[in-house]
Amino acid sequence: MGGWAIAVHGGAGVDPNLPKERQEEAKRLLTRCLDIGISALRSNLPAIDVVELVVRELETDPLFNSGRGSALTEKGTVEMEASIMDGPKRRCGAVSGLTTVKNPVSLARLVMDKTPHSYLAFAGAEEFARKQGVELVDNQYFITEDNVGMLKLAKEANSILFDYRIPTLSTCGGGAALESPIQMNGLPISVYAPETVGCVVVDKEGRCAAATSTGGLMNKMTGRIGDSPLIGSGTYACELVGVSCTGEGEAIIRSTLAREVAAVMEYKGLNLHEAVDYVIKYRLDEGKAGLIAVSKNGEVACGFNTTGMFRGCATEDGFMEVGVW
C-alpha cells in the first residue's frame, strides 16, 4: 500500500493473428515507456509530468495509433486528439483535430496550464499551438506506410459491409487480414484495432494523473471526435484514481467509462480492483473496451473485455508486468 504506481497502454482489442514479431515490438515499446515513467517517478517528478512524458514517448514512436503512426481519416490525412487530467484539483486539458502538432498530449497540457479553457480544437487549437511555439511538423510526418495500407483495407472492408462484395486479394497480403472474424466498431479488428495510447500514474505523494492520445478511428469522417479527448470518457483523474480508456469510442462515451471507475469508488466505496472489474463487466453493455487505472494508495489495475490489450504496469515495490493477452 502506498508508493508510486504506473500503467501504460497501447490499445484494447488486438488481432489474434497479429504476427509474433509485432507483439514483441509492442512489448518492447511498452517496457521502454514504463522504464521512462519509473525513472521519472524515482526522480520525484509529479504524476502529471510523468503521464505527459510517457505519452509523448508513445506518440513519437510510430508503432501505436497516436502522433506519428496515427490512423488515417477517410481523406488519408491525420487528425489527432488527446487529453490529460491532474487528480488533485481535477484540472484538465484536451485537444482535437490537430494536424501539425508533434505531441498532442503536450498541447493538451498547455491548454490546461496556459488558457482559461479546458478544450481547444481544430484551427483554434493549431493557432494556439503556433502561438505557444510547440514543435510543429507537416501532416505527412504522422502518416506511415502501414497505415496507408490499412486505410485501403478499411475502405474495402466498409464496402464489403455495405455491398456484400467479396474482397479482391491484394498483393500486400491484405486478404489474409480481412479473414479475421473478430470485430470492433463493427468491422474487422485487423484493420480497426484502436491502439490508442495512454498512461496513468500515482506518485509518492498519492497524486493521480491520467493522459490519453490517439489518431482516432481508421477511415473516420474528418472532424470526427472520439472518446480520447473527452474528460470522463477516455480520461479521468481525481483525488482517488487516474483512468485511461481505449476501445470502441462510442461505447466508451455512452458509458462515460473513465468517470464510471471513479464514481463507483467514490459513491459505492469499491476499491480499485473491484471498481475496474465491475465497470468492465457491467457498465459496457455491448461495447468493447479496456482501461488502466491507478489509485491514490499506490494500486494499479487493468481491465478489458476485448481480445487482448497492449499494456504494462509497475509499482514501487518492484512489481512489473507487460502483456498483450
Binding site: R90, G97, T115, H117, A123, G124, G223, I225, A263
Partner: protein, 326 residues
C-alpha cells in the same frame, strides 16, 4: 408518473434589477418553449423528439445564447455546439464549431442517427451539414448587436465571461452604453431541455454559443456527454454555467451516478452535485424516470421553465436554489 419537462435558458449572475425590456422577452421565450414541449408530450411524441424540438425553439430565440443570439469568440465569430442523448439506449450525438448551421441540436441528432460516430466538429461538421442539407445561414444571421456589445465589454475588461457575470462598472457619463445594457452584460445563457414520457423514456439536449470572448476553437461542456448533457434509464440532465467547471465535475453524469450509487432522489442528487461546483458556476435541469423535476443552481439565477402531467407548471428566473448541508 406521467410526463415531465424542464428547460433552461442559462444560469448566471442575473441581476434582480434586470429591466423589464430584457426580462419579459426571455420569460415569453421560456413560456413559448414550454408550451411547445408540453404540446409535443401530450401528442405522445418521444422525449428525444421533444427535447430536440424545444431546443430548436430556444436556438431560434435571439435572447438566449444558442443559435441566433450566440455569444462571440475573441475574433468576433460564431462557434456553436450542442449535444443530445437518448436515455434508454444511451445513444448520443454532438457537434462543435458550427458557424452556419441554424439548428445545432438537429445536426447533433443527425450525427447520432446518420453516422457511425458520436461527435463531429468544425469543418467536418459543417461539411456533414451540407451533405445532409440542413438549414444553414450566413454567420451574420446569428450575430446580434447585444453580443457585439458584450464582446466589446469583455475585451475591455479583458476577461472571458460566463453566461451571466457581474456587471462591469461603467463610467457614469457613458449614458448610451448604460441605457442599452443598464445592468451590465451577459444576460443570456446556454439552453437545454430534458423530458420524460409516461413510459419512463428520457432524453436531454443542450446547445450554446459558448463563452463571450472565448478563444477560437474552445469547446465547453455543452457538447460533452457526461458534462453538459446526460441521460440514462434513471434521469436526464442538461447543465449550464462555466463549461470548464462542468467538464471537470462531470456534472450531468454525476446526478445519475449519485442517484444510482448513493440512492439519492433526483432533487437531492441535483443539489448534491451542484454543491460540489464552486459557487456562481453552475445550474442544471433534470427529470427522472418517475416524472420528478429538479432545477438547481448555485448562481444568482437561472432562466428556466418546467411542467408535469399533473398540472404543475413554473417559469422562473430567481427564487432560492435548494440548499444542501454537508
Amino acid at each position: 408518473m406521467g410526463w415531465a419537462i424542464a428547460l433552461h435558458g442559462g444560469a448566471g449572475d442575473i441581476p434582480r434589477s434586470l429591466p423589464p425590456e430584457l426580462r419579459l422577452p426571455r420569460e415569453a421565450g421560456l413560456r413559448h418553449c414550454l408550451d411547445v414541449g408540453i404540446a409535443a408530450l401530450k401528442a405522445h411524441k418521444h422525449p428525444l423528439d421533444v427535447v430536440e424540438l424545444v431546443v430548436r425553439e430556444l436556438e431560434n430565440h435571439p435572447h438566449f445564447n444558442a443559435g441566433k443570439g450566440s455569444v462571440l469568440t475573441s475574433s468576433g465569430t460564431i462557434e456553436m455546439e450542442a449535444s443530445i442523448m437518448d436515455g434508454k439506449s444511451k445513444r448520443c450525438g454532438a457537434v462543435s464549431g458550427l458557424s452556419t448551421v441554424v439548428n445545432a441540436v438537429s445536426l447533433a441528432r443527425l450525427v447520432m442517427e446518420k453516422t457511425p460516430h458520436i461527435y463531429l466538429g468544425f469543418h467536418g461538421a459543417e461539411a456533414f451539414a451540407r451533405e445532409q442539407g440542413v438549414e444553414t445561414a450566413d454567420p451574420s444571421y446569428f450575430i446580434t448587436p447585444e453580443n457585439i456589445e458584450r464582446l466589446k465589454q469583455a475585451q475591455e475588461a479583458n476577461r472571458v465571461q460566463i453566461d451571466y457575470t457581474q456587471p462591469i462598472q461603467k463610467e457614469p457619463n457613458d449614458a448610451a452604453a448604460a441605457a442599452r445594457i443598464p445592468n451590465g452584460d451577459s444576460q443570456i445563457g446556454t439552453v437545454g431541455c430534458v423530458a420524460v414520457d409516461g413510459e419512463g423514456n428520457l432524453a436531454s439536449a443542450t446547445s450554446t454559443g459558448g463563452l463571450v470572448n472565448k478563444m477560437a476553437g474552445r469547446i465547453g461542456d455543452s457538447p460533452i456527454i457526461g458534462a453538459g448533457t446526460y441521460a440514462n434509464h434513471i434521469c436526464a440532465v442538461s447543465a449550464t454555467g462555466k463549461g470548464e467547471a462542468m467538464i471537470r465535475g462531470t456534472v450531468a453524469r454525476d446526478v445519475a451516478a449519485v442517484m444510482e450509487f448513493k440512492g439519492l432522489s433526483l432533487k437531492e442528487a441535483a443539489a448534491y452535485v451542484i454543491d460540489q461546483v464552486p459557487p456562481g458556476n453552475a445550474g442544471l435541469v433534470a427529470v427522472s424516470s418517475t416524472g420528478e423535476i429538479a432545477t438547481v443552481y448555485n448562481t444568482a439565477g437561472m432562466f428556466r421553465a418546467s411542467a408535469s402531467e399533473d398540472g404543475y407548471s413554473e417559469i422562473s428566473i430567481w427564487d432560492s436554489p435548494i440548499k444542501v448541508s454537508n
